[in-house]
């Protein structure tokens, strides 16, 4: 792997309104092929970091470089979001279309794929996640595990180069967890996982960082 840089965050400072500072000069870098885990206590800013990477929230101070380009405005992040997929902690927050099929098609349609192409993508992705047969189902009536898989499928439909997974296994049974693990190990080259599930992290990543006192630290042993 010839060290292509995907995410590079320099001296990041961030705090929510009237809150204490979450990041105090955080540095973080992710190269192509990295499989990274992030741990940290509740409220340490793991989700916030993901939202900053895809530009849903803007840092107070510090620079965000994605694919070696400094990203500041909404236009810069439009490109980022095509290549970096974010899995929300709550799948309910991620799915908003009436049916599974439409939810999966939403992203590809936005980046200008034709209807014929999109149909193929939907079919392909549904097969990959064994969701075939659920295409016409109403998303909010699915089970928790199915929702998580559909959320994954909506990301996979964009064919991203990197995935940001916010607690991908919380509340899932072993079989679904296994399915998710198999998918990311075999189909995704680069990803960051935030999780409290240590067993899952051990299997899924080869480097673990922890956020403490607003800074990112490498955990020496897995």
């Amino acid at each position: 792997m010839d060290n292509i840089n995907i995410v590079d965050i320099r001296k990041l400072h961030f705090s929510y309104h009237h809150g204490q500072e979450i990041f105090k000069g955080l540095n973080f870098s992710l190269n192509k092929g990295d499989k990274v885990g992030i741990i940290g206590s509740n409220g340490s800013g793991k989700t916030t970091l993901f939202h900053i990477i895809v530009g849903l929230i803007k840092p107070i101070k510090g620079d965000v470089y994605i694919f070696d380009k400094k990203r500041t405005n909404e236009k810069d992040f439009f490109e980022v979001r095509q290549k970096i997929g974010l899995l929300f902690q709550e799948s309910d927050d991620q799915l908003f279309c009436p049916t599974v099929e439409e939810d999966i098609a939403f992203g590809p349609l936005n980046i200008g794929k034709s209807h014929e192409e999109v149909k193929l993508v939907v079919k392909d992705v549904c097969e990959k996640f064994s969701l075939s047969g659920l295409e016409r189902k109403v998303t909010y009536r699915l089970s928790g595990g199915e929702k998580r898989l559909v959320a994954f499928a909506t990301l996979a439909a964009m064919n991203p180069e990197c995935l940001l997974l916010d607690e991908p296994t919380s509340g899932l049974d072993e079989a679904t967890t296994e399915r998710i693990l198999r998918y990311i190990k075999n189909h995704v080259e680069t990803y960051i996982v935030v999780s409290h599930d240590f067993e899952f992290l051990k299997d899924a990543v080869n480097k673990i960082f922890f956020i403490k006192d607003g800074k990112m630290n490498l955990k020496e042993t897995l």
Binding site: L56, F78, G85, D93, Q94, L95, F96, P98, N110, M158
Partner: protein, 273 residues
């Protein structure tokens, strides 16, 4: 979204009994609304500004609220002076702005700002929960009060729900254009918002039932009427009504009007007999 931003304070106005607040604000608002001249609303506005200073509100946030109100009033400035009958003041093309019209709009502007300020300073400085509590004490129908309370409580929840969905849409590269895809997306957004709020309200209702909810909120701490509450209430009402009495002769006209009417009636009666 933070709706109770003015309730976080520690002045004596914040600590007033919410029941007294309602009983003060309602007549005072009527008094201000009934003013007809320019001088009285100016005086009322000054009283309200003094209250703002006393309550030590965040002026920046207050101004933002006032701007929202004044955007609506701005439209009156465009239409009213030209449609109000009276003496011509200036002319644009065929449109004639009247002096009376301008004075009328000015009066409306002053009055609305005074009323909004008064409501924010007095009612806005209490939490919605205490206001609802006060409404129950003032014998308003419980169902209405609960409706008001839940409306306030869940408008923020709906807003959060909306913000989350907006994020979900953004990360999948949505750009609003004028095409079917965009309209469909917005329709889904609204539809989902309705379904989710409904489901959420069902879950919350169930949670409330599990804790023994019987259309009634038990209240732990009750209000205590203090001397300062009564003094404030009486002072405010006297101030606003005396403004009318001093600057407008509405009150002094009432006895004169009664006297004249009686004279006329007596005159009629004597002529008849």
């Amino acid at each position: 979204m933070h709706l109770e931003e003015f309730a976080e304070g520690n002045s004596f106005i914040h600590k007033l009994d919410p029941r007294v607040k309602f009983l003060t604000v309602i007549p005072s608002v009527f008094a201000i609304a009934a003013m007809k001249t320019i001088a009285a609303p100016i005086a009322a506005l000054i009283v309200c500004l003094i209250l703002v200073i006393l309550s030590r509100l965040d002026l920046k946030k207050l101004i933002i609220r006032l701007i929202t109100v004044n955007v609506f009033i701005f439209f009156l400035w465009i239409f009213l002076p030209f449609s109000y009958p009276g003496e011509a003041f200036f002319q644009i093309g065929n449109l004639i702005a009247t002096k009376e019209g301008l004075l009328h709009v000015l009066s409306i502007t002053l009055k609305s700002n005074a009323i909004v300020l008064l409501t924010i300073v007095i009612l806005g400085t209490s939490e919605v929960f205490s206001l609802s509590h006060a409404l129950i004490h003032l014998k308003l129908p419980r169902k209405l009060v609960l409706l008001f309370f839940f409306f306030y409580r869940y408008i923020t929840v709906m807003h959060d729900e909306y913000v989350k969905m907006k994020k979900a849409i953004l990360i999948r590269c949505f750009k609003p254009k004028s095409n079917l895809h965009t309209y469909k997306t917005y329709a889904y957004l609204i539809g989902m918002l309705i379904i989710r709020s409904f489901e959420r309200s069902q879950r919350i209702y169930n949670a409330m039932l599990c804790r023994g909810f019987k259309n009634n909120f038990p209240i732990i701490s009750h209000f205590e009427l203090k001397k300062i509450d009564i003094a404030f209430g009486i002072a405010m009402i006297i101030i606003f009504f005396s403004l009318i009495a001093v600057f407008e002769n509405t009150f002094t006209q009432v006895p004169i009007w009664i006297y004249q009417k009686t004279l006329a009636l007596v005159g009629q009666a004597s002529r008849l007999s």
